[in-house]
Symmetry: C2
Subunit: 381 residues, 2 copies
């Protein structure tokens, strides 16, 4: 471990080191137009300070329309580290996370959040690299009636907010199989439905298909009181066609709850969700863990280095085509007040949907998926 303080993020450095026009131009090229900060209640800010987590809020406006009123929604992303050691009893680890998150959700509610999304498999350490079954699979629980859904349903109803809860799911009502699932809880506290991870990494230690397989639920979109949402879990962000199908099903906001380590994927992180927002004229929200997770037994990495016991996460951001986010290292609540009318305005302005040629690609992919497909390669005659 280095004694050096971890690097906090690009924005902090930019704000510190760049001045005047240089700052404005770099910000514009990296993040598009400037988004003003939102003023939040003192109570929410005090509670965040007490809880030792960051609280940031920005406003993303759209043009005024004549026939539609603005549809302003406060989207909230929560990033956090685990609380107890990965060797603590399962029940205690989960309880400690429930307690941490209940404070963060309270702060979000005090800041007038409408939709809150937590990170992937938020009730547990992300232990899938270890390949060990127990105790990790004991964190799996029913999407519809497990202790975490019960716990969050109460908070959702109490605060009148929609909560997206990505958990390790044990499909108890059907065949007891494990899935990587996001539960969508309405602002009334009821479960609207669930979405499962469509693409499973097979990268180094993270061959998560040791634990669960690809979703067979397709790309459901959930109509909530605060807009239509889809959930593209973790590694699905690398697949543009996955984002696209959520958008084609009408998603105005696509969440990407993730758990990914810095060394591996950090330079990709600022690109993929933004590209999805551009290509699909919707808001995207990428959420990753922060902190370091230590495991009792060594595990190997795909890079041939022996004896890992720790996973180092990074995070910051995102919402929206161009947007900044939280510290790379601290727990945090990120709020963006967006006007959902911006989705259709962008769709009409850029015309990507209209020019998408879905029929061409449906045919092309159908051919390309066949075992006997011959790529269209031209050579000099």
């Amino acid at each position: 471990m280095s004694a050096q303080k971890e690097f906090d993020g690009i924005e902090a450095v930019m704000e510190e080191s760049l001045k005047g026009r240089n700052y404005d131009e770099v910000r514009r090229i990296l993040y598009g137009r400037a988004y003003p900060e939102l003023e939040l209640s003192q109570e929410s800010k005090d509670l965040a300070v007490n809880g030792n987590f960051e609280l940031k809020a920005y406003s993303i406006s759209a043009q005024a329309e004549q026939l539609r009123a603005p549809r302003r929604v406060r989207i909230t992303a929560i990033q956090n580290s685990i609380v107890l050691a990965t060797t603590a009893p399962v029940c205690q680890q989960r309880k400690a996370l429930h307690e941490k998150i209940s404070v963060m959700i309270e702060v979000a509610a005090l800041a007038d959040a409408n939709i809150v999304c937590l990170q992937e498999a938020w009730t547990m350490p992300f232990a899938f690299c270890t390949r060990e079954r127990l105790p990790w699979t004991e964190f799996a629980e029913s999407a519809e009636g497990g202790p975490t859904t019960q716990f969050l349903s109460q908070l959702a109803a109490k605060y009148g907010i929609v909560i997206i809860s990505p958990i390790l799911e044990r499909d108890d009502e059907k065949d007891g199989v494990i899935w990587n699932t996001a539960v969508v809880i309405s602002h009334t506290g009821k479960v609207i439905g669930k979405s499962r991870k469509n693409h499973i990494p097979r990268v180094g230690d993270f061959n998560e298909s040791s634990y669960y397989m690809e979703s067979t639920l397709g790309h459901p979109v959930f109509e909530t009181a605060f807009g239509k949402i889809g959930i593209n879990i973790c590694y699905g962000r690398h697949h543009p066609q996955n984002w696209m199908m959520y958008a084609l099903n009408g998603a105005e906001i696509i969440f990407n709850p993730s758990a990914t380590v810095g060394e591996l994927s950090e330079p990709l992180w600022g690109i993929e969700a933004r590209n999805a927002a551009i290509a699909n004229h919707c808001f995207t929200v990428a959420i990753n863990r922060v902190g370091t997770e230590y495991f009792p037994n060594e595990f190997t990495s795909g890079d041939g280095r022996p004896g890992n016991t720790a996973l180092l996460y990074f995070c910051r951001f995102i919402t929206i085509p161009f947007f900044r986010g939280l510290s790379r290292t601290r727990d945090g609540v990120l709020i963006a007040e967006v006007d959902l009318n911006l989705c259709r305005q962008t769709k009409d302005t850029w015309g990507f949907r209209m020019t998408q040629r879905l029929d061409l690609y449906a045919k092309s992919l159908e051919k390309a998926a066949r075992p006997d497909y011959r790529p269209d390669i031209r050579r000099e005659k």
Copy 2:
């Protein structure tokens, strides 16, 4: 016009203003690993200085393999402003551009370039916003035997380089229709084939379907002496499925010759080609014009502002998943020596191809393209 010097680009500011670890971390998060500069011949550098254009070259390595030798290829992108006023005779405008480009290609050749790609419709001002037919359509010429292809074929054979020449094509041999086309000229000087623009913008002034329509040639990939290449012209970069089909046809390098104005799309520019390189484990090369083009007659913009007569371009970059580029404002030659083995290494490491689920998306897109498609939307019961 502002008297203020135009902003040169993010990298220049970063290098000037950030020090030590701050610089390293910002660079890493934005651009991934560091790419060393290549040493070039003094002759090429002198000629670039004389020609008043930038010359930059970087090296992008791959891991050594046991069974495959490195396949090092020098990919070259050329960005340039037009030479004469848009009111000059067509022949003279084209001739002046031929002359400018012949010097830039000579420099590229002296710097050991293997593949050179020019910008979209490089023989002309990008006048499609005007909606006027003449004289602009007079710039259209035969892909196989027009004056520009003849001119570049000689250079390709002389220097032993592959040249990608994006032009306005008049399909004289068939039906005289105009297309937006990239001609691929082998290092022997022969035309290997051509590719056409798959997605046509209908954005503000740039409804280019006043001049040409979407390609019916699909996504051909050209096997050259220096690797397999595809050409995704301009607005096609907004469509992830377009990049994907070139990659599925085996492209190791996908070029994106473009003409796009700064105010509109600059914050998208750093995202889209990079995302395509990530998602498709190939090299991508985005090329835009630089400078300002003035037109004799006013044209309107989609933003309701009256009386445009000028289009202001910006450029810089790219090659490769993470890479930096040229000045936003100056003519330039950008060279990246890449090891094409990196494509398969990345494919194997990240597994995106393996986890792509093409069959799922072929079926999903087929359904989504139907007029009677009902999006999969779930509501609270």
